[in-house]
């Protein structure tokens, strides 16, 4: 019973005092399967808390080395046996040839001798010995794989057919998005997708031209683009243009021309003076170290990582202005899939035989903890009812600063008829004083 209390969401359990300090515990009206299963799962996964271990591939390597070793042995054995056979046959051949010029001997005895020799070599039984060991190694390796890996990752797969056209559109978009224009064109062609898919291509081709030029330390296309879009960039609060100018300035200075660098600052960088005074000061100080910047306190300006940082910022702003996400949506989804699938597979192992229910669930039975970078939306889960908030059941801020959902507050205050204790601190809560939160 204590076990039930620990793992079941509170709403299914009723506690009632039956005197003498004893309590009756009831588990309320048939909690749905998914809730119980989810609760069981989180209970057990909490019990076997994962230690921080990097995957140990050594057993696999060892098993494979055994296969390779046995294979080498078997292969050199066969080579050796075949060579032996050749030697014997050649020997008999010489005998016959030698006897040929001399007396007329019947070669039957030579063949008989050869037959006996070959029987002594017994090639097939020689093979058998090494093959047996090889076979053992060959059958052990896949077993080791099955032990160390998840042999069936389609266990938590729903039998629904993705619309191939939609998937292909996503893939084509991804190729263009990643600058793989050739591959994208080839794919559209081969998969017979309409040319409209290529719209993404024109969007991103300019961006990759700019980035490619930056790889070659040519900032001109980048500067042109940033200047043309300077007002939009300013609205977004980005100082990309200044960063690009700074890179260009350092390049000129490294080129050894102090006067050129100075005039560059005057024409291009001084307009930023109002907001970026300290950065410009630093650049001006660099002028003193012209030619030996690497020895100066400002040597970090030379670091090639600056280029990568600016290139990333440019990509971000470019995508932003195009109305596209920074990361390819396909990359994001697949990366989320790699994080989300292991708990689902674990769940399916525990719940083997419930495949039917899995196919029709409206919500995943287990919580899937994704990394921060996959959190795009605020989600409020009431700590009392364990339910996610909705428009009808919004999160409410109590006077003490703790937050519960509206239904829980209504329940605990008996529909506002009395004050109650906050489940997290000793405060008395008046439900009329609670405020709705907008996350």
């Amino acid at each position: 019973m204590r076990f039930c209390l620990k793992i079941l969401p509170i709403k299914y359990i009723t506690l009632s005092c039956i005197g003498d300090g004893a309590f009756a515990i009831e588990i309320g009206d048939d909690p749905p399967f998914s809730d119980i299963a989810g609760a069981l799962y989180s209970y057990f996964s909490a019990q076997t808390s994962d230690r921080e271990v990097k995957m140990d591939l050594n057993p696999i390597k060892d098993a494979f080395d055994r296969v390779a070793k046995k294979q080498k042995m078997s292969s050199s054995k066969t080579q050796e046996v075949v060579a032996q056979m050749i030697r014997e046959i050649e020997l008999s051949l010489e005998i016959i040839k030698a006897e040929h010029c001399g007396s007329e001997v019947d070669c039957k005895s030579v063949f008989g001798e050869l037959k006996k020799k070959l029987q002594e070599i017994a090639p097939l039984s020689q093979f058998e010995g090494t093959q047996k060991e090889l076979n053992i190694a060959l059958s052990k390796y896949p077993k080791q794989l099955e032990k160390s890996f998840n042999p069936d990752i389609s266990k938590a797969y729903r039998n629904i057919d993705f619309d191939a056209h939609t998937v292909n559109q996503i893939i084509a978009g991804h190729f263009y998005r990643q600058g793989l224009f050739d591959v994208g064109d080839c794919f559209i062609n081969e998969a017979n997708e309409p040319d409209s898919t290529a719209a993404m291509k024109s969007l991103f081709s300019e961006m990759y031209l700019v980035l490619e030029a930056m790889k070659n330390r040519n900032l001109e296309p980048a500067l042109n683009w940033a200047t043309a879009n300077s007002t939009k960039l300013k609205e977004k609060g980005s100082d990309l243009l200044l960063k690009l100018h700074c890179l260009q300035f350092v390049e000129i200075l490294q080129g050894g021309s102090r006067s050129k660098a100075l005039s560059y600052v005057r024409t291009h960088i001084s307009p930023f003076g109002a907001n970026h005074f300290s950065e410009i000061q630093k650049l001006m100080a660099c002028l003193l170290w012209s030619g030996k910047l690497h020895q100066s306190p400002y040597s970090d300006l030379l670091s090639p990582t600056n280029w990568n940082v600016v290139a990333e910022e440019l990509t971000r702003q470019f995508c932003n202005l195009l109305g596209q996400s920074f990361d390819s949506p396909l990359s994001v989804t697949i990366a989320a899939g790699f994080q989300g699938l292991p708990p689902l597979l674990k769940f399916m192992t525990v719940m083997a035989g419930k495949k039917q229910e899995w196919q029709s669930m409206k919500q995943l039975p287990v919580p899937v903890e994704l990394d921060r970078e996959f959190q795009f939306h605020s989600i409020f889960v009431c700590p009392v009812s364990k339910e996610q908030s909705t428009d009808e059941n919004p999160p409410m801020l109590m006077q003490c600063g703790h937050v519960l959902c509206k239904q829980s507050i209504n329940k605990m205050s008996k529909n506002g008829s009395r004050t109650f204790k906050c489940p997290y601190c000793p405060s008395d809560i008046d439900s009329t004083q609670c405020r709705q939160l907008h996350l």
């Binding site: 729903r158 619309d163 990366a335 035989g353 903890e369 600063g401 709705q436």
Partner: protein, 472 residues
């Protein structure tokens, strides 16, 4: 600004913003996701194993035929000239075998190298190169998809394409390394084996498919055995879960019955692909109005299956009675060109099973898991952020039949900075109930002399009016 003495309710409250179960660490997560790579190691190994076995068999065959030739000669009278000639030919045969073995050894070594390269590749990711590794992983998954969907050119191109961002001076070398690497990391040649059969089927040729069946006969049979074993285990499990600990006769019979049924099913299913190939060949004979040929063919190749596929057999035999292509829908179906597509599908399934590949493209499996873990009701709102893949129509369409994700803990993302809030950057509440992160609000206050403007309602208030919220 008084940042420290904000009226934050009960000051004795300890912060409860920390989640009760810490999310799994990066390293653990990496380990878990590496465990999904079974196919990645299994497929090249199956290929390697197949080569080893085939080579061994070829050697055995040749050697035993040489031995039996010698035995024959020993028992018969041969002139000396003849003997010299025969022995010389035996020697050259064996020398040919030796040369062939050396060539095969090179292939075997290459395949072993590929298996090793893959293990090493799984060992290579760490915190620093994770992004690059994940990109490579996605490329692998896409190549798998291309090859399964028969987009071979794209698959090859993607595998061969050097990444565009690689340093120009190293481009050439990188390209070479990339090619070798990629060919080690994707199973192109295995799929090319499949392509031969598929192309032939699409050109309405059966022979390569039948040859493939014959070539892999023993392995296909072995698969059948494991399958029966699996079904057996499942049956036992079902019966066991429905019964009391004591086994009685009735249950025993039930199990026996289930085993027989399952064995039949799996046997029928197993040989079905070959049966269907034969059937199609027969249909083509009928289509060509070669009725005598068709009947002869049916006697020879279809009769052995009669017991198992009686109904289909009767229907298909009836087709001979018609002149030309029959009108009746049951019989007409046999003549549809769709039948060939169906054969291609069947072949792909058999092929995947043989090489230990997942029946579904990896892309679909991970798309499903990813979409489910990302899907929330908020994804379908108009102001969904662009960074969420589910803000896009195509992704929403794919996610439609999938379940929503489940959360056990609140996760509050700041509307302004889009960052996840936590104990270091806790949420603060404006007088109108709107919530933003402390970091965003502090910055706004700094810029505007302590004034806060709500970006969603345009309400203006002082920083001092904010209240901290404890959301667990």
């Amino acid at each position: 600004m008084e940042m420290d003495s904000l009226p934050n309710g009960n000051s004795t409250t300890t912060s409860t913003t920390a989640p009760s179960t810490a999310p799994p660490s990066k390293l653990t997560q990496l380990t878990e996701s590496l465990k999904l790579e079974h196919q990645f190691l299994r497929v090249p190994f199956e290929h390697y194993k197949k080569t080893i076995r085939a080579n061994l068999r070829a050697v055995e065959k040749e050697v035993s035929s040489v031995i039996s030739a010698v035995n024959d000669y020993a028992d018969s009278d041969i002139s000396n000239d003849d003997a010299v000639q025969r022995l010389t030919s035996l020697v050259s045969r064996l020398q040919g075998l030796k040369r062939k073995m050396e060539e095969e050894r090179r292939t075997e070594n290459l395949q072993a190298e590929r298996c090793r390269a893959r293990i090493d590749h799984l060992e290579s990711p760490d915190a620093e190169n994770l992004t690059g590794w994940a990109n490579m992983r996605l490329k692998r998954i896409l190549v798998d998809y291309m090859l399964r969907m028969s987009y071979y050119d794209t698959g090859l191109k993607l595998a061969e394409s050097s990444n565009m961002l690689s340093d120009i001076t190293f481009l050439l070398r990188a390209l070479m390394i990339w090619q070798i690497e990629c060919q080690d990391l994707v199973d192109i040649d295995i799929y090319l084996e499949a392509k031969k059969v598929i192309d032939a089927l699409q050109n309405m040729e059966i022979a390569p498919a039948l040859a493939w069946c014959a070539e892999n006969k023993s392995r296909l049979k072995k698969l059948k055995h494991t399958q029966i074993k699996l079904l057996l285990a499942e049956t036992f499990a079902t019966v066991a879960s429905n019964s009391d600990p004591g086994v009685n006769i009735l249950e025993f019979n039930l199990v026996k019955h289930a085993i027989i049924v399952n064995a039949h099913c799996s046997y029928g299913w197993q040989s079905k692909f070959e049966f269907q190939l034969r059937l199609q060949e027969y249909i083509e004979l009928v289509r060509a109005e070669n009725h005598m040929g068709a009947i002869a063919y049916a006697r020879k190749y279809l009769a052995p299956w009669a017991a198992m596929h009686t109904k289909e057999m009767q229907q298909v035999f009836a087709t001979v009675a018609f002149k030309g292509i029959p009108e009746c829908s049951v019989y007409k179906a046999f003549f549809e060109p769709k039948q060939w597509d169906y054969l291609v599908e069947q072949f792909k399934q058999e092929f995947c099973r043989l090489y230990g590949m997942n029946p579904e493209p990896l892309l679909n499996i991970f798309l499903q898991a990813g979409l489910s873990s990302l899907k929330t009701p908020y994804c379908y709102e108009d102001d969904c952020t662009r960074e969420d893949p589910l803000s896009q129509e195509s992704f929403r369409k794919l996610a439609f039949p999938l379940p929503y994700s489940k959360q056990h803990h609140s996760k509050i993302v700041c509307y302004i900075t889009k960052e996840l809030m936590d104990a270091e950057n806790p949420p603060q509440v404006l007088p109108n109930g709107y919530v933003y992160s402390t970091k965003a609000l502090e910055e706004m206050a700094k810029r505007n002399d302590g004034k806060i403007t709500c970006p969603r309602t345009s309400l203006v208030c002082n920083y001092s009016e904010l209240v901290k919220a404890y959301i667990s």
